[in-house]
Symmetry: D2
Subunit: 307 residues, 4 copies
């Protein structure tokens, strides 16, 4: 398939929509970004990349980091992880406390905020300190991206912490149910550092290859997960990857994926490629408006849906 | 692949679990069934069938009928259908009123009870009368099963109606929000008649072929849906097909599917086959306990997950 | 105290507010009413009445009827009534299904719709038929009002039934939890007939005397309730009498009372008098806007708060 | 009335129930208390006191402190206070986050935890520092008790803080909605210091006199509130003073009151007296089991209900 032509077409078709989204403005460090940006990258198993737009521009990966921290937690804890986190869609906004209270402090899945904070807590337990947990997740992301330059934006991390009252509420609520082991501020601070990592669509499409290939990096040959674990992460991305628009994404795009409020989205076509799109304007559900549309066009044009 | 050996193995492995589930007992007509039964059938695109267990025994398809009524509604209304029904997972039990009230009478998806009742209402609008709506759904199911013998169990239908207060509550609540056009009793009665159809796993695995083949019956060549519509039904089955255990099913089985309280489950392997399992004992989420396990074993043994 | 001067003053002071409320328009039979009306009546223990405004005009008592049906149910069932209905404030709108579902079909109190429907069901059990239950409540209201002319508006009753889907949803939900004994349509129909009784503020202020006097009609000397039962009805009026504005009413008025969407409110000053006000424009919580204000002014001017 | 004989009788009658409650055990500092204790005190307007049981024993007043901090906040902010806190019953447990989230961070009333934390925040604003806010509330309580010996138990305060995750969650959630001005830890810490004050039933029954007397201390003649403010506090105690058993307390006791998890309850008979009971075993709703029963017996025996 002529992927380059296809993504060029997509870039043209989504261009009129760039003005429609709304950039995340809950922290000043994200609010200033120019909305009129778009990038899309594909990486095949042999390393071939196709890109369009600002595919080298770094942006805040935000909740996309949840995929990577979940990968490490699943690797170390396997099914024991499900004692503290579920894997069901939530049917609620990403940061709601309602369901967390009704379900006694056990987050529905690792991709809502409460779940990702809980995953971070599990990683701190495993690695011993917040610093090591942060560094090991960073090291893992650098490894799967094959890029040692990736690092976090400290201004974004600090700004998140300063405005992170709802996440602190979620963490305190889990703590009140004895479902969080470390200090609330430490866990949430570590979580925010992962969220504030900056990557480009080129890096992210490369990073997703292990999930398109049953847990094994197809270029470097490194095994990160068992096939079963890898497929299960894809299943959770499909059912829970886009908050309260997960069904919509499955319905319209038909690929496992995960979005972040920085405007990035990652996805996989099993056995074929890793993908990433970026455009900072968000739709009402908090997912990249243009990015979602671009992925819909991609599966329409290529027929590469898992369904 | 040697499908017959695989399903024989599965039948052996699940056999000790037959005693663990709990037969649906909310109506007398279902409560009396012998729990110690199991069947599994696969149908390939050329019509080849593999079966194990009581694969000719008829059972109440119950909520599996929601797939077929949704198919017809999507065919006739296409995206207009989403004005009255969403396609997001609910995060709540299948018959909860809470979310329906918060969301002003618009059901989350066509596979929770409120959604399927609403789909039935849309079909009554389209066909003009309850009787025709019932007959056309029946006719469609007979066509995709290539079996004119299929019919409903009137005792089950009457018994459902007699104990259907919660479904009447759901329908009245939608009516109070002007999201139901026909008489409450008529719509719910028609819905129950579809639920009380009786089929075997052989019939059901045959009936699912059109959803494994982008909307076209691969044996008879009849086109029912566009590829896009067909894939979208699969996406909704994956995210919403098993009530509050949909994430669990995606996670552990990894195939689009739909369960019913009669103990049946249908699923598709896109481009490969239709499947059906049946065992009347249910797990805590109301899905066939042994049936779910059998499908997990099937994807483990064959690697035929969509992820 | 010069009650006549006080209520004349009140009528003057509330007059500019008459245009601010919003007449109930959920059924045509109520929607047509002229908003520019106001009446207020007090009845002392010796039968002396003070009135201002259209105090002889009949209006639909609506939820005020819940006080009288609850009185009879408490008389016949005493504490057994609390097996089926609670006496806690709901913290939710008057017709919400959320709490009723979470609490397994047991209504929070007899003054939300679900509770009053349940009270009606208990009265049908006691009296044997819907017809007798209706007639006995009517007979009781005529007795405490000392007025045989009171009757129901059949057009309003029929119109309620025609648009009563939410109440039918509540009743069906209770029925699904086995907390309703008679046919849903029969119970809701009987409930609506009580709601559609028409009375004036003169009649209603007279009717409340038994609750101001520990269960005994101070004029005719008839005993309806024990002192303890009578006080408990007052307590429920205070905590639950105005739906989700009950705290506001207790806070600003400080008297046990009950409102109806027809714009009427009844209240008692224990040991002193029965009161009623009427003005059809409602505030955001569904209580008479001007009526609530008039009662606030009344306790401000007289100091007759129970606190 | 022979109050001494009445409370002696009550002490005898409740004695067999002392074993039935359950001492609060969420913090070690409270868990160790001997359950077999009871005290009851009445204080009349001339200072006459009647007591039975361990009426000089100091116990942790816990949520009873909410009455006193609310008094000061109402005094300084008057109706402006209602921009940040409502005065409706909640229909939920005292520390639930559900309603707080649905209602955008505005607590239902000043007597649920979120509301009392918010009141503390308002007092910190008024007084400038946490230290002053704490000291002024303490000073107020000493003044209305006419007892300079009252002080807080630092071990209890520290223990509360150490286990106060749910309260921290509530405070962070309000902060995320911009309905909390000061630092979360500071506000919650100050709130806990008020909760950890220790008083006896003699002190508390004396302290309530200003609320029984329209805002004026009847012994010392000091005016704390306007009559209207004082009555409104009584109204909020009646509708919201006992969490999710407030309706029950109004129904069975019929007096404005407030309970604490330390086993204390305060109440007022308007124009007559202040009361306090104490017994550390709690019922299922978190109110003193024996204390509630003792107050029921008191109003039964004396007829001193406000209804």
């Amino acid at each position: 398939m002529d992927y380059q032509s296809i993504i060029n077409e997509i870039a043209d078709e989504v261009s009129p929509l760039l003005k429609d989204g709304k950039v995340a403005d809950y922290i000043p460090a994200l609010a200033g970004i120019n909305q009129n940006q778009f990038a899309m990258s594909l990486t095949l198993f042999d390393g071939t990349q196709f890109s369009v737009g600002q595919a080298d521009t770094l942006f805040s990966i935000q909740s996309i980091s949840k995929v990577f921290s979940f990968t490490l937690a699943l690797k170390f804890y396997n099914t024991d992880l499900y004692k503290r986190i579920g894997h069901e869609p939530s049917g609620n906004p990403f940061n709601s406390l309602v369901q967390l209270e009704y379900e006694h402090g056990k987050p529905r899945n690792p991709f809502i905020n409460a779940g990702a904070i809980n995953v971070t807590d599990a990683l701190i337990n495993h690695y011993g300190t917040c610093k090591t947990a942060y560094e090991e997740v960073l090291g893992f992301i650098r490894a799967i991206s094959d890029d040692e330059s990736i690092c976090s934006n400290e201004i974004v991390a600090a700004s998140e912490m300063e405005h992170g009252y709802r996440n602190l509420a979620l963490a305190n609520l889990m703590k009140s149910f004895n479902n969080l082991d470390n200090r609330v501020e430490d866990v949430v601070g570590t979580y925010f550092k992962h969220c504030s990592l900056e990557m480009s669509t080129k890096m992210l499409s490369r990073a997703m290859l292990y999930l398109a290939n049953d847990g094994v990096d197809p270029i470097l040959g490194v095994t990160y997960l068992t096939p079963s674990q890898s497929r299960r992460i894809n299943a959770v991305m499909l059912t829970c990857g886009h908050y309260d628009a997960s069904g919509d994404f499955a319905f319209n795009v038909g690929l496992p994926g995960k979005s972040g409020v920085g405007g990035g989205i990652v996805a996989v076509v099993p056995n074929v490629m890793g993908l990433s799109v970026w455009s900072p304007g968000l739709n009402a559900q908090g997912n990249s408006l243009v990015g979602t549309k671009a992925l819909e066009l991609f599966t329409d044009k290529t027929g590469l849906s898992i369904f």
